[in-house]
């Protein structure tokens, strides 16, 4: 066996090393040193993230294990983006993980989180559906455990069961679709499927792709597969919710893009296109309409993230370099914006347990910094310049329209009109914090923990800089243009 092929998997191996280090530290260190587990994890993961930025962006194409696994600069870049998001989640989780209730399970939390990240890596890099399914499962199952992490809270258990059942169900649907694909193509390699599937789709292929899309739709919480989202987001611990809404969603979106281009690219325009158009319109609209009525901040962000998934899908249907770069950039910006919002929510929840939008009334009077961070996050999610969200939305629309058909103009127009609806409910939060100040605020002034502040500062810096400083998007687009879509 040629062991040098493992060298292509630098990022996976690096992540495994981080995982093992955390595991060993948590298992064998004396009890006194265990208080440093959080810091240790964050530092090691930060070093790993930085190393990935230094080493892995310059690589070119590489496939190993007879083509089951592939990596390229674009794939390295999306993994780095996920790393940054996971790092912020790790930092933000410090206070929660060290609370009295969680302290005994602190180590497991970090290990589970790293394990899911590993699964997501595999999903993105897989070029064979078996590897993909392994990645999918190892990304989903530990997450169910993480959702149940608030052991003493009933909602957390309920959310976990809901998540587990939907994950299992969606995997089953997904594999049903795969079995059809296997029957048609006789292979599970993306490249073989690509060649074997004719451009004249049979009814079986349409069914197979519908199943595959449904399976991925559960992961991405696209409408009509979104029903688990709000309950799970509400019940899970806030840090897990933020991880679920950002990292899990981003990786699934990118994996779907890879799958669509590499395995089913030829039949895209006959089969996928209309399915995806319908899904996008439904996802954006339903997500927005439901978000308007939510009073619980976590449910509110759950539906907001449903509609954001629709915008992410717009980057997928572009099927060109601009679209792909915009998708990656969108995920990057979404990571920072959503994590800023969740950072504020979790800071407030950890401090006084309030998660209702009405509790945020007049927050600016008591906690001006947190409310400014929240406002920036909301503006960025709504796509208001000069914050990063504006640029990511603009570019994702630009990428989609490059395709040029009339249908895409209509689709983008619907999406744009939906941004107005989304602006309405994002402004409701701003209104609560800044305008509804008559009755004072139920949240007393408090000083949030160091880790929470650090996480928020990073997120806010991202919101402010990612758009105005153009090099992030420029380098992503150059990457995608140079190396093609993959």
């Amino acid at each position: 066996m040629d062991y040098s092929q493992f060298l292509a998997m630098k990022q996976e191996i690096g992540l495994l090393i981080v995982f093992l280090l955390v595991f060993l530290y948590d298992t064998f260190m004396p009890k006194k040193a265990l208080n440093g587990t959080s810091v240790f994890t964050c530092v090691v993961f930060a070093i790993y993230t930085a190393l990935c930025f230094c080493c892995c962006m310059t690589d070119t194409w590489a496939t190993t294990f007879s083509g089951m696994y592939a990596t390229s600069p674009a794939i390295a870049a999306i993994k780095n983006i996920l790393n940054v998001g996971a790092l912020i989640v790790l930092i933000q989780s410090c206070k929660w993980a060290n609370s009295d209730e969680q302290v005994v399970r602190r180590g497991e939390f970090y290990e589970l989180l790293l394990a899911t990240l590993f699964g997501m890596y595999l999903m993105i890099s897989a070029r064979h559906f078996l590897l993909f399914v392994i990645g999918l499962e190892s990304a989903s199952l530990p997450l169910a455990a993480m959702v149940a992490f608030n052991k003493n809270r009933y909602e957390s258990h309920e959310a976990s069961i809901k998540y587990l059942l939907t994950a299992v169900f969606s995997s089953a649907v997904f594999m049903m679709g795969l079995s059809f694909v296997y029957a048609l193509a006789g292979s599970l390699y993306y490249t073989d499927i690509y060649c074997a599937i004719s451009t004249q789709p049979s009814a079986m292929l349409v069914l197979a792709l519908a199943f595959v899309l449904a399976g991925m739709g559960f992961k991405l919480s696209l409408v009509p597969f979104h029903l688990w989202t709000a309950d799970v987001y509400q019940g899970a611990p806030t840090v897990v919710t933020s991880y679920l809404s950002v990292i899990s969603k981003g990786s699934a979106a990118f994996a779907l893009l890879v799958m669509m281009v590499q395995a089913f690219g030829l039949v895209y325009s006959q089969v996928w296109e209309w399915m995806l158009y319908a899904l996008i319109i439904l996802t954006i609209t339903v997500g927005n309409l439901f978000a308007m009525r939510q009073r619980n901040m976590k449910r509110f962000l759950a539906f907001s993230s449903v509609s954001q998934a629709g915008y992410i899908m717009l980057g997928i249907i572009a099927m060109n370099a601009t679209g792909m770069a915009s998708l990656m950039y969108y995920i990057l910006v979404y990571v920072f914006s959503n994590l800023a919002a969740f950072g504020v929510i979790s800071a407030i929840e950890n401090n006084c347990g309030k998660v209702d939008m009405d509790d945020y009334n007049g927050l600016y009077r008591t906690n001006p910094r947190l409310s400014v961070a929240m406002m920036l996050a909301m503006f960025s999610l709504a796509g208001i310049p000069p914050f990063a969200g504006f640029f990511s939305k603009f570019f994702i629309f630009t990428g989609a329209i490059q395709q040029g058909s009339t249908a895409i103009y209509v689709l983008v127009l619907i999406a744009l009109i939906n941004t107005i609806i989304s602006l309405y409910y994002y402004l409701l939060v701003v209104k609560a914090m800044f305008i509804n100040t008559e009755n004072g605020c139920v949240i007393a002034p408090f000083k949030s923990a160091c880790s929470e502040r650090l996480g928020l500062w990073i997120s806010v810096a991202g919101i402010l800089l990612l758009g105005i400083v153009s090099c992030f998007y420029n380098s992503l687009l150059e990457l995608c243009q140079t190396y093609g879509i993959f």
Partner: protein
């Protein structure tokens, strides 16, 4: 980058934001606002003088002081700046209104946050007027819109929550159409095989947008900007928004922000897509014609001073878009004059209304009367503003409206005699009626509010304008009178822009009298 004078129009507001961030008390905040806005006036006046000097020296370029710095290189998005006479006129307008607006909000609550948002808004405004790259233009446009939400929501009065949300959502709704239009323009900005561009001048020079696409993109952009220009039926945000906004915000919004709409229609929709402008002008002529007359009639029946003025703004801003759609040099000159004139006089109106409201705590004209005896200075100012609004010669309104109607009638006759239908002629005549209606509602307010007996005895204790109020209003009155007395100077400034190059495409379709 910093050798280009135009950059400072954005840099100074940004420095002001930084200055506000570090200021500790209300005196420092005021100092930052006054010094910054004075610097902006000085800068824009210097720009005006230098620009005229360059034109006199025979510089025929379409835009002067151009500069371009690449930003999102792979998409060819640049930070491109450049100005012509119209932009300079708008820059001067913005500077004066920001200056007077700062004085009008001398005693505001939470001054730091208020001025932060106000200056952020004006950063967007300045950025919009100096940009010639449609991406940056659009970005600055949206930067200017969003602070309105908090400015109205936090510092407003009346049903402020409703108005703030309505205004923000409607304007952002307009910009949704606009965004689609602009991205569409980008993808058709160059002939096949050449690099696509966001630069206004290059797009106009390429002239590559096919007529079919123009018919789709023109309405998108025109409606997008038209919402901000208070075009019927998208004007409904304007009365509520202006009525609820605090004084300085009403001034800046009606005075400057609504001009963004007219300027955008002119600069993007008309300039880049002349064929569609010519084909589809009739639809928007009807809509803006309705704006002009309907706004004026609505103003006649309102009793809240701010509503009266807001509807009058709908009418006057409608006239701007109406004149632009005439596609005629004279009418377009009038449109730009009207933007200047309306900006100044409506700012003056809102400033005065704010000052009166601050004293009487009511804006209902039935609850006030005889103000001329109590507040002589403010009342005289109000009368002057009213005269400017109804088009008294010697003040700015007369010059603008006269030019517009002469140009429109001219174009109407050309259409009619050339067999192109009588729509323009008919609508010019209809729009002319608005002058009379304007006189009705202005004189009604003057009669009820300023003349006659004192309605409420409590009002007798009121004191007349303070020094900062006098400074604010006097500056505006001087500007209004300057336009009225020296129209030729402003006409010269704008005329340079209407060079043959600018009218290249328009003239290909429409006969233009010179």
């Amino acid at each position: 980058m910093f050798s280009n004078i135009l950059i400072y129009f954005v840099l100074i507001p940004l420095l002001m934001l930084a200055g506000l961030g570090i200021s500790r008390n209300v005196k420092q905040i005021r100092a930052v606002a006054v010094v910054g806005s004075t610097a902006l006036i000085a800068l824009s006046v210097y720009l005006l003088v230098d620009y005229l000097g360059q034109r006199a020296a025979g510089n025929e370029a379409e835009m002067l002081y151009t500069g371009s710095w690449s930003w999102f290189t792979p998409l060819n998005i640049n930070l491109s700046v450049g100005v012509d006479g119209i932009s300079i006129a708008m820059l001067i307008l913005s500077s004066f209104i920001l200056f007077t607006g700062s004085f009008a909000s001398w005693k505001i609550d939470q001054p730091k946050e208020f001025f932060l948002w106000l200056i952020l808004l004006s950063t967007g405004v300045y950025g919009f007027f100096i940009s010639i790259d449609i991406f940056t233009m659009f970005m600055f446009y949206e930067v200017a819109l969003i602070p309105m939400y908090l400015l109205i929501g936090v510092w407003g009065s009346g049903k402020k929550n409703y108005s703030a949300m309505k205004l923000t959502l409607m304007l952002m709704g307009g910009s949704a159409f606009l965004m689609l239009g602009l991205i569409g323009i980008y993808y058709h900005s160059a002939p096949a095989g050449q690099p696509l561009t966001w630069n206004l001048l290059e797009i106009a020079h390429n002239n590559a947008i096919s007529t079919g696409w123009q018919h789709f993109l023109f309405p998108m952009t025109f409606v997008g900007f038209g919402v901000l220009g208070a075009m019927f039926p998208f004007h409904t945000w304007s009365p509520d928004g202006h009525a609820s906004a605090p004084t300085a915000v009403s001034m800046l919004h009606a005075g400057v922000l609504m001009k963004l709409g007219g300027y955008g229609c002119f600069r993007v929709s008309m300039y880049l897509m002349p064929e569609a402008a010519n084909d589809l002008a009739w639809i928007f002529l009807i809509l803006t014609g309705i704006s002009v007359v309907y706004g004026a009639f609505s103003a006649c029946v309102q009793t809240d001073l701010k509503y009266i003025n807001a509807y009058s703004s709908v009418s006057h801003c409608g006239l701007v878009l109406f004149a632009i759609l005439m596609i005629n040099t004279t009418a377009m000159t009038g449109a730009i004059m009207q933007m200047l004139s309306h900006g100044l006089m409506t700012a003056l109106f809102f400033a005065l209304i704010g000052m009166i409201y601050g004293r009487t705590h009511t804006r209902d004209i039935h609850e006030m009367g005889g103000m001329m005896q109590i507040l002589p200075y403010l009342s005289v100012c109000y009368v002057i503003a009213g005269f400017a609004s109804l088009g008294l010669p010697g003040l700015s309104g007369f010059v603008a409206e006269m030019t517009i109607f002469v140009g429109s009638f001219e174009q109407g006759m050309i259409d009619y005699l050339g067999g192109a239908g009588s729509l323009r002629l008919v609508f010019t005549i209809i729009a002319c009626c608005s002058i009379v209606i304007t006189a009705v509602y202005i004189l009604r307010v003057v009669g009820k509010l300023l003349l006659g007996p004192v309605h409420d005895d409590h009002h007798r204790q009121l004191t007349d304008a303070t020094w900062w109020e006098r400074l604010s209003t006097a500056t505006l009155i001087i500007c209004v009178a300057a336009i009225g007395c020296f129209p030729n100077f402003f006409e010269q400034l704008i005329r340079f822009t209407f060079n043959p190059e600018f009218f290249r495409a328009l003239a290909a379709n429409v006969p233009v009298l010179n």
